[in-house]
Amino acid sequence: MRNGLQLFMLGVLACAAAACEHPIAVITPHIEASELLVRDTSGRLLAQTVDNQRWTGGSIEVPAGDSLPLMIRLLDFQGREFSLESRGSDYSVRMDIEQAASAVWEPLTRFGWLRGFAPATTRMRIQIWHTDHPDFITPWLPLTVRSR
């Protein structure tokens, strides 16, 4: 009798699980980062956030009609640098550029191109996206798109 009851309850639980419309998904954790670094593809540091409140290292410059390859890296709370790729494929780098026509960010695997289109003195900020929401947003960083 007890075995029968246990089997019945297992059946109930299986039906309950199957009845739920919400699929079971593997949820990756949010990015836990203290700072963001902007490097060129040789590894040279171009700019870094400080307490993610301001930037050190100056502004970013790109000529109009040209492109600047950039790598975005992060520091964890122990000060260790890591890449987004090391945390899986659910994260991506986005850039807000205030004067959208002046430049654009084209992400690729492990790095991206900052493409200059029209001369402008503007600002950019970097967002680390985790599927459908930002996990990390930097302060605004001055961006200059220079005439060629």
Binding site: M9, A16, A19, C20, D90, A101, E106, P107, F117
Partner: protein
């Protein structure tokens, strides 16, 4: 020993709890069956100029001031993973010709002193208005008056 009535009550509770808030969840209106994911822009010869990938584009058109730029617009129902930046497979491309007339495309250039666009839902012509300038263009696909899909703004230049 658990009585049959207690088992029945327990089973009912488990069923109700299985999907928390089920009765409170608003019922979504029926969604259109066509799920456009990406846009591919080619020139008149079929050469790919630009394709969207989720929140960004790969490839940026250059509009010659003298001749303008004739483009065709394709749509893809497939979407690559966030870390896969390849172009949508050609087998997934569709054109608006294959869809009923209620599907239409609005093409909006943010600064029409830079360039203008004239065309239909299959493509059209960018005409440069100011040399050595840049702007962004948006493609919005609608079914009737309902927006089905909006690609991220596409940067382009006029030379």
């Amino acid at each position: 020993m658990i009585s049959a009535s207690r088992v029945a009550v327990l089973a009912a509770v488990v069923f109700l709890a299985a999907c928390g808030g089920g009765s409170d969840t608003p019922v979504e209106p029926a969604r259109p069956t066509l799920q456009l994911r990406e846009i591919v822009i080619t020139d008149s010869t079929g050469r790919v100029l630009s394709y969207s990938h989720r929140d960004h584009w790969h490839g940026f058109p250059v509009v010659p001031m003298a001749s303008g730029l004739a483009v065709r617009v394709f749509y893809s129902t497939d979407q690559r993973d966030a870390d896969d930046h390849d172009m949508p497979a050609r087998t997934s491309w569709i054109t608006m010709d294959t869809l009923s007339a209620e599907y239409n495309v609005r093409t909006v250039i943010s600064d029409t002193t830079v360039a203008r666009f004239s065309g239909d839902r299959r493509g059209g012509l960018f005409t440069g208005m100011r040399a050595n300038s840049a702007s962004v263009v948006s493609f919005v696909v609608r079914r009737g008056t309902a927006t089905l899909f909006e690609a991220p703004p596409l940067n382009f230049t006029v030379r």
